[in-house]
Symmetry: none
Subunit: 224 residues, 4 copies
Amino acid sequence: MPRKLPTQGRANQTVAAILESAAHILETEGIHGYNTNAVAARAGVSIGSLYQYFGSKDAVTMALIAAEAEDLQVAVGAAVTMRDPNAALDTLITAAVDHQLRRPRVAALLDLEERRLLRPANGDSATGRLLPVVVNVVEKLYGPHRELPLLCADLIAITRALCDAAGEGRRESRIALRDRIRKAIHGYLREQFGVPAKTPSARPSGESRSPRQSRRSAYHGPSS
Amino acid sequence: MPRKLPTQGRANQTVAAILESAAHILETEGIHGYNTNAVAARAGVSIGSLYQYFGSKDAVTMALIAAEAEDLQVAVGAAVTMRDPNAALDTLITAAVDHQLRRPRVAALLDLEERRLLRPANGDSATGRLLPVVVNVVEKLYGPHRELPLLCADLIAITRALCDAAGEGRRESRIALRDRIRKAIHGYLREQFGVPAKTPSARPSGESRSPRQSRRSAYHGPSS
Amino acid sequence: MPRKLPTQGRANQTVAAILESAAHILETEGIHGYNTNAVAARAGVSIGSLYQYFGSKDAVTMALIAAEAEDLQVAVGAAVTMRDPNAALDTLITAAVDHQLRRPRVAALLDLEERRLLRPANGDSATGRLLPVVVNVVEKLYGPHRELPLLCADLIAITRALCDAAGEGRRESRIALRDRIRKAIHGYLREQFGVPAKTPSARPSGESRSPRQSRRSAYHGPSS
Amino acid sequence: MPRKLPTQGRANQTVAAILESAAHILETEGIHGYNTNAVAARAGVSIGSLYQYFGSKDAVTMALIAAEAEDLQVAVGAAVTMRDPNAALDTLITAAVDHQLRRPRVAALLDLEERRLLRPANGDSATGRLLPVVVNVVEKLYGPHRELPLLCADLIAITRALCDAAGEGRRESRIALRDRIRKAIHGYLREQFGVPAKTPSARPSGESRSPRQSRRSAYHGPSS
DNA sequence: GATGAATGAGGATTCATTCAT
DNA sequence: TATGAATGAATCCTCATTCAT
């Protein structure tokens, strides 16, 4: 690592170019246009170089999955250190939304590939590392539950689904999407926990408020 | 007419065998094992016969999508005629669960293919026909909402996501899954409408009633 | 032959329908659309029936070649009996033009196939039966020549080429085409024979005249 | 640059080998044996290599057409610069003969394919570039004519037909063939113009000299 | 005889991967 | 190390032909 840093730098550049190219092709052409020759060509490197850095097409895909998940991982890392579980959850949701909306199709397609590629040596999927954090946050927010991992996996699935749905076709602000995801998550959890908590509105600051009463005024619709 | 019937029968059998084979291969091998030769071989017919009935591989896929969606369509038809919107919603959920759990992977993969195959053409996907029914049912249950189609699309996406998640890996009873979907749906809607639904979704037990109160004190976030 | 005439009639009808269909497909789709299934379908018979009457695709093609050449054969037969060689030649030319222009593409494509199919058991091509007649006519018109068969084969090739060229693209009257063919033929022969004969204008009657002199009055063009 | 040249050389070799193989197979097997696998095999390259250089079978065919027409184009270029129209015409005829006789069947089959492949696209066939040159030469030789392009297209068709006819079966010297073509061409033109050409075409002997003069009196038209 | 479902060899094309330079 | 030409197994699809009904 200390030696031949310039080389390392070039290698890193090449790897980055390949992954960027792969993502772009997946986004614009779908799986059917996703082949190593196209990826190498668009990356501006030879096919031989691609195979120098990645032993196979699947290796490229896996690296892309990891790279795409990276910003998510950053958010996960940040969430872990937060005191306020609400802020932590918001951080995760925001990261998920940003991630999925940046390249909606890539995210969806990589989901598929991830399932296939993780079959043999599973364990370290993005979800795998995400789940415990979510469990931790939710437990802080809603208390213990004997099926918490299952519920949190559901939350992740729901979040992903809403992002995917938002990605194809309908264009809307990420704020609106975030709001809907928050409602889906808290609605689900409240049903599961049998609690009248209400979705906190987007206010990433205010580390604490006594929500239940004060938030009532947020209701609209037939009720109040 | 008697002349043609045995022939017709054979043709129908062949078509059915091909679709069954296609579904089986998608389920067990994934998209990577899904090719016309394999489908024909497993169906016990020659590749030529496959192409006698389906003009292309995509045609097979589309027919499979239609066939797999058929039971869903039946449920949709039934739900349309129901007076009780709660029962109608349950019918739809049950159908979705049954459909997705029968061949979890097929359902997920066909979703992907459907997106690709419907891009150029019309919009009569399974979701397309499902959405208005859901909108109608939800409106009866929760009242009007200016973004009802969007919300209902979310409901469909959520349902699908939970089924998909249930499909891969964890095995559980469809009753439990149905219950979780119901909670996700009603939780989301209650958040969106800010109102308790006219009819609560699941009353399977009394067990989960009491925790609701006692756990209250554990909440952080908006509450405390 | 005397018995089961009705059956024979039906068979003939079927055969005729198949050949007509084959010609139509060759004309409109070219060799690439010319396959037995399409021919049978367009003829309104089953593929099985086609193979009942023709042992193979090549058999269909050969029958089509024979059928298409039939009107040419009629003209050949007529030409043989004519006294006036000029009228005979005109008959042949007219037949060739009519034949080639009715279905220009079929004629050209069958030419190709004929060459392939006649390789093994050649001898009875349309040209084969045509050549001696042409030789005979030309000899009467222009006198003997030691390479007459070669010259006459050239005449046939020239005629065919001009018809083919007329078939694709440029539309013109068959009278004009006939005139050009006549000029090409007589021009060639005059060069070969070193003779001042001039192309007779189209006057299919006058069974006999001493051509060289009497034909003078027939000249047109810039002169007279 | 030195880096690329050997590679370029290899690529060129491969392309040349493929075209040579294609021509050879067309010549010996006809269209029925003309498929990409056979072409690649005979060229000593893999099928993949063939598709590296040619996007499709038709692309191979078109490249072959262009390659086969190349020597013709050279002759056309040479003819354009010639002062003496007779020499120019002879150059063209010789080129046509040499071209067609080198691989008679290839030339004929490519003619067919050319018609099919040029249908949709532009009109720059070999004939397309040839025609204006011929028109120019003929006009110099025989003077103006309101249908000169048509006549010259006929000349090209006639030349091609005689070459084709010479190609199949009968073997003869190209000198004899050239002579016959010259006679066909000038015979046709004299008929059309009703005039002796400014320059007689072939002077291989003295034998045909006297008739030309004596024939003059037979001409009508501009002359007499 | 007539039918048309079924067959499967054959042909076009793609693309992951290798390897000589 | 980089390159990109070459490879060939795999895949989609066609069509001449057969044969059970």
